[in-house]
């Protein structure tokens, strides 16, 4: 359990000394009770260490946003969440709503996808910023406002003092996202969840926002979970990447590995579909077929119907995350995976985990982009 006196910022130091992961997610599942059950996230497990910047990549509907918002239990009431989420020794799934309010905003900061809808249109930026400080740092109205101005300035909003009394509609998209970031980092959270923070923004602004997130999180050794559908976004910022497909993590490794030695057929296909500056292309390469219907989970590997390296086993057995041996032995029949699984067993992605892939027949390593040639 965490210490009763929760000074902002001390959690990071404590956790670093404790030498365990800051965040530990085990068997997290999210099911939406819609007309039929939508299984958005299926038994996902991973660890995040203090100060890590980790990317969670996947296409729309892969469950990455649902899985991230479930960490702070911010999903609507019709979402059923199971599994454990342990932040700094506390299982968040067991907290009452009242206890959770002390964690939200304070230990977990969240940057949302759309800064046009995530800010309240009828409250000033200053008020929305100050209320976080008043809640979690117990500041009075005037002190909160003063600090809000500082914060707004520190995220790169010019004339921050004057702009506190502006309403969201008087801010541009990029400035709004800066304000949202200021709110998220205000109490120095241990974990920052950035849920597609650049998707709704102009391309020119995207790079600035990513740079700001990178700067703020490395400065305070904040752990960042950066969710995106854009491989280019994770390339510049994160050290580690987890790729999600149909509610599961299908590949996990260092960012460099995922870019240079992608080992899951889905990741390989994602790389192929990136436009390349060095190749003349008539059309963008797409992944054939459709993602599986989350209301009717099929047997076997969910990517199998679209997979070029599918084998018989894929249709019946859903592959768990497994290590890829450093010494690859390619045979005519593909990898000898039976021995690999027996040797290494099922693994959880974490700061020290090796390159993991959920595939019975991983293709030969393919890098879509060179390690250094990528820009966010």
């Amino acid at each position: 359990m965490k210490s009763p006196v929760a000074e902002p910022g001390t959690i990071v130091a404590d956790a670093a000394e404790a030498d365990g992961p800051l965040l530990s997610v085990r068997d997290l599942s999210v099911t939406f009770r819609a007309e039929s059950l939508v299984r958005a996230v299926r038994t996902v497990s991973y660890d995040l260490a203090v100060g890590e910047q980790v990317g969670l990549v996947g296409e729309s509907g892969s469950g990455k946003s649902a899985g991230a918002l479930a960490l702070a239990r911010l999903l609507p009431e019709y979402a059923d969440v199971s599994g454990t989420v342990t932040l700094d020794g506390t299982n968040l799934m067991r907290l009452t709503e009242r206890e959770l309010r002390e964690v939200r905003g304070d230990q977990i900061g969240i940057v949302y996808q759309d800064p046009f809808s995530s800010l309240n249109p009828v409250l000033t930026i200053g008020k929305q910023l100050a209320e976080v400080l008043r809640k979690h740092k117990r500041l009075g109205a005037r002190a909160a406002r003063r600090q809000a101005a500082q914060l707004l300035g520190s995220v790169g909003v010019p004339n921050a003092d004057d702009r506190l009394s502006d309403y969201p509609h008087q801010f541009s998209g990029g400035m709004r996202q800066r304000a949202v970031i200021a709110m998220a980092v205000a109490p120095r959270p241990a974990l920052l969840i950035a849920d597609e923070p650049t998707t709704a923004l102009d391309v020119t602004v995207q790079a600035q926002i990513l740079e700001l997130l990178d700067e703020l999180t490395s400065q305070h050794r904040t752990t960042m979970l950066l969710i995106t559908h854009d491989l280019g976004v994770v390339a510049g910022v994160t050290q580690r990447v987890m790729v999600m497909y149909a509610g599961r993590i299908v590949e996990s490794s260092t960012t460099a590995d995922v870019f240079t030695r992608a080992s899951h057929p889905y990741t390989v296909a994602l790389h192929r579909s990136l436009p390349r500056i060095d190749l003349r292309q008539e059309r963008l390469v797409t992944i054939e077929g459709q993602p599986p219907d989350p209301t009717r989970p099929a047997e076997g590997c969910p990517f199998a119907p679209r997979c070029p390296s599918r084998i018989d086993r894929c249709a019946t057995e859903d592959p768990p995350l497994m290590t890829i041996p450093t010494a690859r032995r390619a045979t005519a029949g593909g990898w000898n995976m039976t021995s690999i699984q027996d040797a290494d067993g099922v693994q959880v992605p974490g700061p020290a985990s090796p390159h993991l892939t959920a595939c019975w027949n991983p293709p030969a390593p393919v890098g879509g982009l060179s390690e250094r040639g990528s820009t966010p």
């Binding site: 995530s118 000033t124 309403y167 709110m183």
Partner: protein, 345 residues
Amino acid sequence: MRWFVLRRLALAPFVLLGMTCITFFVSQLIPVDPVAAYLGGRGAAQSDAAEQAIIDALNARWGWDKPIPERYWIYVTNLLQGDMGESSHSARAVSTDLANVVPPTIELVVAALLVAFVFGIPLGVFAAARRGGLWDTAFKVVSTLAISVPVFWLAIVGFTVFYGRLGWAAGPGQLDIFTRPPPEVTGMVTVDSILARQWDVLLDTLHHLAFPALVLGLVIGFYFARVVRSEMVDALESDYVRTARGKGLRRRLVLYRHALRNAVIPVITLSGLAFGSLLTGIIVVEHVVGWPGLGQYAFSAATRLDLNAIAGVVLVISLAYVLANLAVDLLYTVADPRVRDGLKS
């Protein structure tokens, strides 16, 4: 902002002039002879010389012997001098009558709107916060009943039960018959009794005010509550409410500061519209509880075909509408900063 208000106020006289034009000519189109109505049906039917003399005298007195356009001209020029003509059924100047009946109605309208806001908005928030639950379902049933029951029925049955049987409600009028009214300043008994520091009189008139204000206020309040509920349900599912929850704010702050501030904006529009149904309700309710206001006056003027009085009532109601709509537009600028900015440019 200031220009917006001034522009709206400058337009008001034209709206009112248009209203006088419509009421005047429509009342000319009514195929009933007001002189005959005044004389109780004997008038035009008989061509007795003595009767004819009375008819001519009345026509001359009210100016009915002149052609219609000239009569309108006289009417408007008199109106500009504050002269609304003479009421045939009270035999007083219409302006004097209105000065007597408008203040009690203002009291009733303000009290009813107060009840509607104070009761309706929290009720809507309450139901939305428990959406889908037992309380929400109970709210849906009760509010549907409340807004589908006709006001006259509610007023009559309510008055019979709460005054006639239980004796909780006060009797007819604004004050008990043994209570001496406070010295008249505004004509509103509540305000006048406060000005005169006659607290027992204030209590007495509030007791009389309570029943009609509750009947009118609850019906409108349930209307408000339903709109607030549905707007709140949308707001509670919005991204900005998720952001507020993600900050760890207390439930009350999320509900009232973040969700309600947005959900209440359409209620402002609705209260402008509710003003219309409030005025209709007032005619009925004032009649039932004997409230000496505009509603009763309008009722007796209409049943006696008192054209000058009707025109006066319509003019007052039009003025009230213009002011209510102006108030709605101003409230919008207070509630929604985006509207405020739209006005600047």
